[in-house]
Amino acid sequence: MSGLTRNPQQGQILVLAAILMTFFFIPLAILVVDTGLVESNYAQLNETVQAAAEDGASMLNEGLYRSSNGRTVQLDPVLARQVTDQALRVSRLPGLSPWQIDIHGTTVSVTAKVTVRLFVLGNATLATSESARLAYGQ
């Protein structure tokens, strides 16, 4: 073997490090950032939808309540829908797409989706559904 022949083991650690960076550290960094973004957006979507449902569920039918001397307590479905809708609109949650509001009896249910722009992995659509019920005298 001549002195000019390169040792095949030379630079092996550098190659291993490059592989480790490419297949481990960089994907892990992407995962950390994008998972965090999904998590924070999902938490905020839940909070916003829950608050909007509660706002809607507090809209009692005032006319009926007064005319019955406080004996009949009912949800005003029109006002409940309007207030829930307005609460979602003013939340200014980025990426919040059209939502669905269902009112059954004294329960207001809201289903909403949010599109989150992730750092690397494109867009993610998150959906949640929350309900609130008119509570009186509790």
Binding site: Q10, I13, M21, A51, S58, V90
Partner: protein, 137 residues
């Protein structure tokens, strides 16, 4: 010859290990930034929702601040502050809560070089001033 090779491998490994350690620390920093960003966002929304349900403007500011500081308890965000803009605090109006703070990147050398000594975190949340839980002053 063999001793020279083994010495070279040790030097290579030391260099690579140092770089990998910097990357591992940067990952921790990223995790830290994302985690604290989530906390600031949550504090702003909780402040907005708490303030929107208060009976008067001073009570709204108090409730919003209490709620935000409660949400940030135990977090690593420095100089945390929350601002509640209640406007005229009329029924059906919009209230805005802005939460902000700084995350120190001192323990993370590589990230500190790129993002600076302190990373600014800010979020603004809005809520509808809810008619039945608030009164006009």
């Amino acid at each position: 010859m063999k001793r020279r090779q083994s010495g070279q491998a040790v030097v290579e490994w030391a260099v690579v290990a140092f770089v990998l350690l910097l990357f591992a620390l940067s990952l921790l920093a990223l995790g830290q930034i994302v985690g604290q960003y989530t906390a600031v966002r949550s504090a702003a929304s909780q402040a907005a929702f708490a303030a929107a349900r208060a009976p008067s403007e001073p009570a709204a500011i108090q409730a919003g601040e209490d709620s935000a500081y409660q949400a940030m308890r135990g977090s690593q965000v420095e100089a945390f502050a929350v601002r509640i803009q209640a406007g005229t605090f009329e029924r059906g109006a919009t209230l805005t809560a802005t939460a902000e703070g700084y995350l120190s990147l001192a323990p993370f050398p590589l990230v500190r070089q790129i993002l600076g000594q302190r990373f600014h975190l800010q979020w603004q949340a809005s809520a509808l001033i809810e008619p039945y839980r608030s009164r006009s002053p």
